[in-house]
Amino acid sequence: MLSCGHIRISPPIVRLGDPVLASCTVSPNCSKLDQQPKILWRLQDEPVQPGDRQHRLPDGSQESLITLPHLNYTQAFLFCLVPWDNSFQVLDQAELLAGYPPASPSNLSCLMYLSNNSLVCQWEPGPETHLPTNFILKSYSRADCQYQEGTILNCVPKKRQSNCSIPRKHLLLYQNMVIWVQAENMLGSSESPKLCLDPMDVVKLEPPVLRALDAASGQPGCLRLSWKPWKPSEFMEQECELRYQPQLEGANCTLVSHLPSSQNQFELCGLHQAPVYTLQMRCIRSSLPGLWSSWSPGLQLRPT
């Protein structure tokens, strides 16, 4: 038993506000219907309306055509109906989708995490498209970033997330790789600008570990401490900065730069402004590109 009515839409997905053309064909052998039913339309919950034009097809079916000038729903159901007693009978239903093609993803940035050896990249997806839109982080390794050799790696983010993690086994460390984001939906696709980087140049460095030592010299106003780099980054040559501040309202900070990444004992003197000082350190890869770690948690020390 062929179904009585059938809706055809072209195209099924449009830009928000664009027109939609639909046709509904009612077959002649649709029992219980009088020969030339008046075909009607309903969009979502809007009032029932007649089509623009209804005519008879060679095979005897009736076809109604309707143009919705501006589809302002991002998702809506279009019904094809016929009058029945003092109500209507739905013959078919079609889903209309409207939205926008994806804008180019922007602000693509990546960090290499030594804790789980993966490169995590994140980006701004751009304005809402109202349509199912797939984002893929694409990359390939090539020493000088011009040629495209080797296969392109696709990293598919978890649903609705604008970041992706490339596992270690897909990374060629100490070589440049090209990375970009592709966004695609039914209305089009776009690409972010390309990044060219060596994962080891964007390591997310953790701050060093500070330890208080009891002051050796009897001299007042001194304190001693030691520090060593974050264990997973020990193989990287690093240089560090120490900042310290008396625990006083509005006291300013003193910075000591170009310190080695590990120090068994380091003495600070001349600390007479307050009974307690707060010390913090951060490090960065030295002689090769790198990113500063965050400052270590504050270490409260009492000068002698």
Partner: protein, 163 residues
């Protein structure tokens, strides 16, 4: 170039760190803590030691040293791959080490390529030992990693002299 030497020295230290991590894990998990007790087994299994004579202080010659360094790294990469299936606990550390060695081999190959001394084709891997028991894979892992560590020690000195 300076960049190549700085990156290589860092990669050597990274591989040394993951090698020591693997040895520590094999010792803790399987009580295989003395590579020197496995030399006889190494002979019978045919576990190779990669030569690095071209990098020794007396005969340091950059092209020869780089090519021996690359061949050695390529050999150890294959050896570590042959240890696949060593055990679930150790496999992640072994994979990390094998990837670090492979990436360092690429760095050396890139440098030879940019100096125009890279051979036309990548070297072909020599036949690797076959491990027929879990013990042989673990003992082979200890021995191969300890040979890799001494190979890296020599490479580190050579790279510092080249820097």
């Amino acid at each position: 170039s300076v960049l190549f030497l700085l990156k290589s020295l860092e990669q050597v230290r990274k591989i040394q760190a993951s090698s020591s991590a693997l040895l520590e894990q094999l010792c803790a998990t399987y009580k295989l803590c003395h590579p020197e007790e496995l030399v006889l087994l190494g002979h019978s299994l045919g576990i190779p030691k990669a030569p690095l004579r071209g990098c020794s202080s007396q005969a340091l010659q950059q092209t020869k040293c780089l090519s021996q360094l690359h061949r050695g790294l390529f050999l150890y990469q294959g050896l570590l791959q042959a240890l696949a299936g060593i055990s679930p606990e150790v496999a992640p550390t072994l994979e990390m080490l094998q990837l670090d060695v492979a990436n360092f081999a690429t760095t050396v190959w890139q440098q030879m390529d940019s100096l125009g001394v890279a051979p036309a084709a990548q070297p072909t891997q020599s036949t690797m030992p076959t491990f027929t028991s879990a013990f042989q894979r673990r003992a082979g892992g200890v021995l191969a990693t300890s040979y890799l560590l001494s190979f890296l020690e020599m490479a580190h000195h050579a790279l510092q002299r080249l820097a």
